[in-house]
């Protein structure tokens, strides 16, 4: 044993890391490549074309996908907006509200959607809407999404607020600002990066949800994931790969924005 054992450089860990990244990215890459395939079959490669992307927008299933996309995006925008607002208020109470008895209970309540398995939340929500006679459709999906998006919006917002010293707000209060002014003019503007992160995460979580949506949607209404699932059940088709690639690109774009928003902010 000539050289001292360097615990920071374990041989073999780099190859495993590379394997890990290959496993994570290869399937996504393969689907992206095959979505550009000119062939009617998903197996044979017949050259590069965008025909399946055109098919998504103009083909026989275009109407169905357009409607599903409209439902998905409007639900995601509304759900993310509402849950981010609710999460911002809740984070203010939790981080800037001192110690109080309901704090632990509130934290448990906020993290409940993360603890309960998704399929259980789906069953429970379906049973709830059914028992109060709420018609299943667009609004039942929207309500369910608002609820389970709250913890995802809450986490980055609360983390951000914990990182902000309250001296700025105290200074404002010393200069006769009201609490409301200190909140809206000082704390809220400083919270913007956290709120953007929270909003984007909530948006993606809503856009991606399949299980809960599938349970509470009722007949005759589809979101993109339920439409894709229905189609995939009959076999993977090239137009589904084109749609998947577009959604995949959108998710990656939004997460990247969220990453750089929080990173650029740490530098200043």
């Amino acid at each position: 044993m000539g050289r001292r054992f360097d615990i920071k450089h374990v041989p073999g860990f780099l190859p495993v890391t590379i394997l890990c990244l290959v496993v994570l990215y290869a399937p996504l890459l393969v689907v992206t490549i095959y979505s550009l395939n000119d062939s009617n079959s998903i197996t044979n490669w017949e050259g590069v074309s965008l025909r399946w992307y055109a098919d998504v927008f103009t083909g026989p299933e275009a109407e169905k996908f357009k409607l599903a996309a409209w439902n998905s995006f409007t639900i995601a925008i509304i759900a993310a907006t509402v849950s981010t607002s609710i999460a911002t208020l809740a984070a203010t109470a939790m981080v800037r509200g001192g110690r109080f008895r309901l704090r632990t209970v509130s934290f448990g309540l906020i993290s409940m959607p993360l603890m309960v398995p998704e399929i259980v939340t789906a069953v429970a929500t379906l049973i709830f809407f059914n028992s109060i006679g709420f018609t299943r459709g667009y609004s039942s999906i929207l309500l369910a999404h608002i609820a389970f998006c709250i913890p995802f919006a809450y986490m980055p917002i609360a983390a951000r607020m914990q990182g902000i010293e309250d001296s700025y707000e105290q200074a404002a209060l010393d200069l006769y600002a009201t609490k409301r002014q200190a909140f809206t003019r000082i704390l809220l503007p400083m919270m913007v990066p956290g709120i953007i992160s929270g909003y984007l995460l909530a948006f993606i979580i809503s856009l991606d949800d399949f299980i809960i949506t599938n349970f509470v949607k009722g007949a005759g209404i589809e979101t993109l994931p339920t439409a894709i699932f229905g189609s995939v059940k009959q076999g993977i088709k090239p137009n589904i790969m084109a749609i998947s690639t577009m959604l995949l690109a959108l998710s990656i774009l939004m997460v990247t924005i969220s990453y750089f928003v929080s990173k650029s902010d740490k530098k200043t």
Partner: protein, 309 residues
């Protein structure tokens, strides 16, 4: 994902203490009405009588749990014997989730360790690379996995081309495909907590051990492993729990022979079975299992913190 709620140096104050209950009110209303009460309603439904083709009759009944655990023959008049159908499905789910957890640990631990020992400046970039796929739609990831693994898929094409195999491997519709799918779904959940615990670890400790003539295995086992154990346990739970109740991976990659809890529950509400109280009971059993795991974990964490600090 982006930053844990419990980051260090927290600036917690009571600036808005008068308003705190008002600030919490909207989240309370939404979460109580749309999560807490629904779960309680589900508990109630599991004790009601089933209506054919979905729904319930408001009459107390233990049928759902009875059907889960006991077999009373076709007409319900034979002496009860243990019903293995559903217990087997739960057991298979535990087994599949466990296998996926071990697979994630074997790949995830070296990855997390490797990232945590990189220079501080490049670590966030590595973590970002690992988390990106998690934010891609789970359905799309599972479909991609199926596309790659199928008999005429790229993986088989590649293996045939290299000459490693003569005929395509049948991976889709096996237990292994489901394990791969679960592993693929939740791998970042394993990497992130382990990464956090290794990053916090003070490497001077292992150097000290090494200076005092501790061998490489002793250093690993006695110094490093106890320090990163909480991260490993957290990672295992974060992979195991969602795997247990997963629906997409077993449904798309497993086929009918590899039924798991998620599909059993789904079938009661969306599929042909249409037995709501039974679906509610199966959900309650799944929820109880998850809660027990989480409570045991929380207690252990609390004890470790008390003992460690």
């Amino acid at each position: 994902m982006a930053g844990g709620a419990a980051s260090g140096g927290s600036a917690r104050t009571d600036t808005y203490r008068e308003a705190r209950h008002w600030l919490l009110l909207p989240s309370w209303v939404v979460l109580i009405f749309l999560i807490l009460i629904p779960v309680l309603m589900m508990l109630v439904y599991s004790f009601l009588t089933k209506e054919f083709r979905g729904g319930v009759i408001w009459e107390f009944s233990l049928d759902a749990y009875d059907q889960f655990f006991f077999n009373r023959g076709l007409f319900g008049d034979e002496p009860p014997s243990i019903e293995w159908t559903y217990i087997t499905i739960f057991w298979r789910s535990i087994w599949q989730a466990g296998a996926a957890t071990i697979l994630s640990l074997v790949i995830g631990f070296p990855t997390a360790y490797f990232i945590a020992t990189r220079p501080e400046k490049v670590r966030p970039m590595w973590v970002f690379l690992i988390t990106i796929p998690y934010w891609v739609n789970l359905l799309i990831r599972t479909v991609s996995m199926k596309f790659v693994l199928r008999d005429q898929g790229p993986l088989n094409d590649f293996l045939l081309w290299t000459g490693l195999i003569d005929s395509p491997l049948h991976i889709v519709n096996t237990n292994f495909a489901v394990q791969l799918g679960l592993f693929y779904s939740y791998l970042p959940f394993m990497v992130l907590p382990i990464y956090a615990s290794v990053e916090r670890y003070n490497f001077a400790l292992s150097e000290a051990a090494s200076d005092l003539y501790a061998g490489k295995w002793v250093t690993l086992r006695r110094i490093l492993l106890p320090a990163v154990k909480p991260g490993v346990i957290a990672g295992c739970i974060l992979v195991f729990v969602p795997s247990l109740g997963s629906f997409l991976a077993p449904d798309l990659l497993g086929g009918a022979k590899n039924f798991m809890i998620g599909s059993l529950i789904e079938e009661q509400f969306k599929g042909n079975a249409g037995n709501w109280p039974f679906g509610a009971a199966a959900s309650m059993i799944l929820l109880s299992m998850v809660l027990i795991i989480l409570i045991v974990f929380a207690r252990q964490q609390a004890r470790a913190e008390k003992g460690g600090a």
